[in-house]
Symmetry: C2
Subunit: 466 residues, 2 copies
């Protein structure tokens, strides 16, 4: 590709610096002089100088002209990398996965490979957003956030027979931020909260950050254990935090009977159910929702578009009682000021694009196929799913006898494989025999090779020790 005149000028100056015809402190020709010398326009030189200033090559001194910058010591880039020493805590999987280099295999992470995401839909949405009115690109969002996106979410919720008004929905920057805001508003340190065991490990990190007292309710194939849930109500918990739709990490879906029983139990208490619907768009058949039965008196729905659209475009939501939403707005202004209006616009454009439902269809079919294949491959290693999920990206599996998830994870990390050990998901630390696998990150045969070698090594050493 032919270089523009601006790029040619930049290269020329960079060359002069490399071959020392310009050194630190040298004064450059004036814009007019250089334009004349290179037979190009003044604006070309202005642009070239401006870019070189932005890159830190030149500096402009007021009233004096342009100079080659004094060489500051080169900035040492300390690359973050895998933390082999870090103990397994609720943040272990997130930090390892987020900091891993590209060549690392990540069956433990909670997201799809980049190539599985609707890249073209996002690019198109960005281009559309680039043409939208100035307020969308420049100004703070109104406190409730993007109105068209709120309307669209309201329409999507109608398939669950969930109805609400537009002042009951608040656009946020992520599902995590949504929960964080609700916790900050409704809870104080020491408050009792119910969570599933196992549950999404970041729920545990959030609970720790808020210094809450979490009571684990065993999660069965049909949802939370009803007897244990009822028993725990005597401790006056303020919140029950759970995944509706597809449960993380188990992949199980709650039954309508369980939703009904829990709704009845909660009705007489002050407890609020936060149902996180982050995996909703992976569902074939919508699983029951708490908000479908009981509305928003005891239920808050939260969610985001991270899993099926983009994790780089941050956008989530909260649906709740309008008074609660109004209080959350005050708290959000104090602590975050405003959500990203532009991100909400990009998400809105992407959701409205016809390529998105087509992408979802493709995605769901791929995942179903891959889920079956992964189950077969894990079986040969003695790893078995606790439940066969109807949809989604996760398999929650038991490990072979004598193999502990934490040990296996640490061993595999040394071979470039990031796993999701069971106890990260268990407040009661009762899942050391479990491992969560993301089927979309299990395509590479090496995943199973590394697992096999590591399992054999652990089993051998366990025989030696016994």
């Amino acid at each position: 590709m032919k270089k523009t005149k601006i790029e040619q000028t930049i290269q020329l100056i960079n060359n002069q610096i490399s071959n020392k015809s310009l050194i630190a402190g040298s004064r450059l020709p004036s814009v007019r002089q250089l334009a004349k010398q290179l037979h190009c326009s003044v604006s070309t030189i202005v642009e070239a100088y401006a870019r070189l200033i932005a890159e830190g090559v030149l500096e402009s001194r007021v009233g004096s002209g342009y100079y080659v910058r004094g060489k500051s010591e080169p900035m040492p880039v300390i690359e973050t990398d895998i933390h082999y020493q870090r103990e397994i805590d609720p943040l272990w999987i997130s930090r390892q996965s987020l900091e891993a280099k590209n060549e690392v295999l990540k069956p433990g992470c909670g997201w799809l490979p980049t190539s599985w995401m609707p890249e073209q839909t996002i690019r198109k949405a960005l281009k559309t957003a680039a043409k939208s009115e100035a307020v969308m690109l420049i100004d703070y969002a109104t406190p409730h956030g993007h109105i068209e996106l709120r309307k669209l979410i309201a329409r999507k919720k109608e398939q669950y027979q969930i109805k609400f008004q537009l002042n009951q929905i608040l656009i946020t920057d992520s599902a995590t931020q949504s929960i964080d805001l609700i916790f900050r508003h409704l809870l104080v340190a020491g408050d009792v909260i119910l969570i599933d065991d196992p549950c999404y490990f970041n729920f545990r990190a959030l609970i720790k950050a808020h210094h809450l007292q979490a009571i684990s309710i065993p999660f069965t194939e049909n949802g939370p254990d009803l007897a244990k849930f009822e028993q725990a109500l005597s401790l006056k918990p303020k919140i029950y935090l759970t995944n509706s739709g597809i449960h993380n990490p188990t992949g199980a879906t709650i039954s309508l009977q369980t939703v009904y029983q829990i709704s009845k139990l909660v009705e007489q208490t002050d407890l609020m159910i936060i149902e996180d619907e982050i995996f909703a768009d992976f569902e074939y058949i919508p699983a029951p929702r708490y908000a479908s039965l009981a509305g928003f008196q005891h239920v808050i729905q939260i969610g985001s578009f991270t899993k099926t659209l983009s994790a780089a475009v941050r956008c989530g939501y909260i649906i709740a009682d309008p008074k609660l939403i109004d209080d959350l707005i005050d708290l959000r202004i104090a602590t975050n000021f405003s959500p990203s209006h532009l991100n909400a616009e990009i998400i809105y454009q992407a959701l409205m694009d016809s390529s998105y439902p087509r992408h979802l269809d493709w995605l769901k079919k791929q995942l179903l196929k891959l889920s079956n294949e992964t189950i077969q491959k894990l079986k040969t290693l003695g790893i078995k799913p606790w439940v066969i999920p109807t949809a989604g990206i996760f398999l929650w599996c038991t490990l072979p006898q004598g193999v502990q998830a934490a040990e296996l994870s640490k061993l595999c990390l040394k071979h470039g494989l990031i796993l999701a050990p069971g106890n990260s998901f268990s407040q009661a630390e009762q899942s050391e025999q479990f491992m969560r696998f993301n089927v979309a990150q299990c395509i590479d045969k090496k995943v199973f090779d590394i697992l096999q070698t590591a399992i054999q090594q652990l089993q051998n050493s366990s025989i030696e020790n016994s």
Copy 2:
């Protein structure tokens, strides 16, 4: 403009619904049938149906086809609007300004009019971002955030002789979020913190959200009152939160002597100075910074690009000791997961574009001119600046005798004028004679007309009452 075939198809179906040839529950022709009927391609109809589904006009039933959706009751849109009843608290100005309709005049708000912002720079940055590699558009950011943006910020800080390594900077979603994260990590409820009096009202909202004990240090023309600062150190404050560069609301700049004295006082304590540099890009001559003298052992710098680039593209930063940054990353994952990588990319592209320094030059000249004009216009109303700022958008002014800022603000609100009353900025509530004016929002003559009428009304009633 000629409609595309897709748009024509959408219109055709919408017309059939309006004229009742299609009613709620009607089944539409299959994609193939309709394509044949309208002599267009199957993909045209697929796209048209998909958009009508996204708009909530049609619904798709699995294995059965496309139907006109049952009319749900129209969703009542409850528009948020000016809250006349709301008492003046630290969030009063933010809520009023963010919720105001376009025709409302906002000399009290803290941002530039949309038309003053570098709209074309942002549009160009968006288009460039739309072409960047997929990971930028799809994936979570690495924990520290966009590396090129971090390098660019490091280069910008060199003009202040502030040096640090790239693992000392964390990209966040806003300056407010930056402070919030630091507070959450370093403080617990009841901790003592020092703030300027007056200070940015949202600092007070943040302090309230964290249940901290704030000690007000009077802010003089040269920075915080040194004697009061030293005296307050006996209370073992953990943090001093302030604006470096241009102070909000006063527009004053701290002197190098004050920076030196405060730095020495702090050296022997555990106190951390958080210097918020959010107005840095408005400066003609960079004012002294705490981090320039003492590095990051007792200083944390935070900032954002909201004021001069875009408030819709959320992006901020924290520069601090590397261990503190590492701890903040854990907290950020737990409470927000990841910053917006795409927003960081857009901000990076905009900062690198040569139109941005040109825009800043224009902006600074405009503001200086407008500041002088506004001072003159306010003078005729008996409103005088406490200090003449060297740069920035604010004038901190005393009101005429007998006029209280809160009363004046409430009265003007009824006439469509949002002001920023002094006590919003004062923890000690000692600024009832002060008002902050944003000169860029004072162009409309009506601002001064409404002010004049309201002041006369208040002065008359005060004479009657006396």
